[in-house]
Symmetry: C2
Subunit: 198 residues, 2 copies
């Protein structure tokens, strides 16, 4: 498998972590979003949506959308609950992540870290919705060590991807103590190093 | 099962159509977003994200996120391909819908039809990204009658939900002839009436 990804992107790292965790071999093809390497004719032939991550599976067929890719890779593994309801709750978190978390928490971080905005210059709606997403996670972690059950699932992999970078977007993880502890727990479960303080 | 939904919302209608298509009985609980009925303590206890649709399953457990709900309802049915790659492509469309289609095509329609904006007053980025999403669908339909295979899947159910309302947001479906024909095909397969011209 080839993974086309940008190492600064949480969406791309989700795919790398899932493959690493499951011992799935791959070749990482660094694809720089800021240099518009996702807009070349070659890349658009692979993913017409012009987004990373995209993978080319062993049989040569392409697949895009980070959460669709990790679901495909992890199907049948310990990262996907067997019980139908737990599985559905995992999917609920995955869709919520792309609709209500990533567009705020990841976009704030991108604007601050890569476009050079000060956190105080961010659009208030972005900050407000990012905080609401982090609070929703805090509430979701009230009863268990991980988001769906007491074990790591793809919901944790997907949600940790940008939550662990939240401080780079001006959010304070200290305001969400359960989230902060969960980030460390997920990083440890995945065997990845903690993010350096912003 | 109880479906909490707003009849004007494509995301909610997805759940209704899927249940109807599969013959799953339910009680529809009309929940008016414009009247903030998704912000009451009772509703937030059901879905802390404060969004419709949300369902309460037969065993009393709640589930939210339209695409997670339809995946849960349709698992094992003809609406979900058995082949792993087709299944993954279906998931790719479902995640793409929530990230790159709904936030533009549905939001433009909401602002025009329910907030009274003229299409010319819409934010240019919204219109541009909505058009890009419709073009992506047009390209995706170049080789087959439905999005994933030659048969109806949840990808079609999810994507048709707001595409069929696109003209209410000022988009012209005549510019996307394959999409226009596919909308009718999906409506027919689901047994739902066409949208009245805007």
């Amino acid at each position: 498998m080839k993974i086309y990804g940008d190492s600064i992107s949480g969406n791309c790292l989700k795919v790398k972590w899932t493959a690493d965790f499951l011992g799935i071999p791959y070749e990482w093809v660094e694809t720089d979003v800021l240099k518009a390497e996702t807009r070349t004719p070659e890349f658009l032939a692979l993913n017409p949506a012009g987004q990373v991550p995209a993978v080319v599976l062993e049989d040569g067929r392409p697949l895009a959308q980070s959460n669709a890719i990790i679901l495909h890779l992890a199907e049948g593994s310990q990262l996907v609950p067997q019980e139908a309801y737990d599985r559905a709750r995992m999917l609920e978190w995955l869709f919520w992540e792309q609709y209500s978390h990533e567009p705020y928490v990841a976009v704030a971080r991108f604007q601050v870290k890569y476009l050079g905005k000060a956190p105080a210059e961010l659009e208030p709606r972005l900050v407000e919705r990012g905080k609401a997403a982090l609070q929703r996670l805090e509430d979701g972690l009230a009863g268990s060590a991980f988001l769906v059950t007491d074990r790591l699932t793809l919901a944790d992999v997907a949600l940790v991807a940008y939550t662990r970078f939240a401080e780079e977007g001006g959010f304070r993880l200290a305001d969400y103590p359960k989230v902060k502890a969960w980030v460390s727990r997920v990083e440890q479960a995945l065997g990845i190093a903690a993010v350096e303080p912003a």
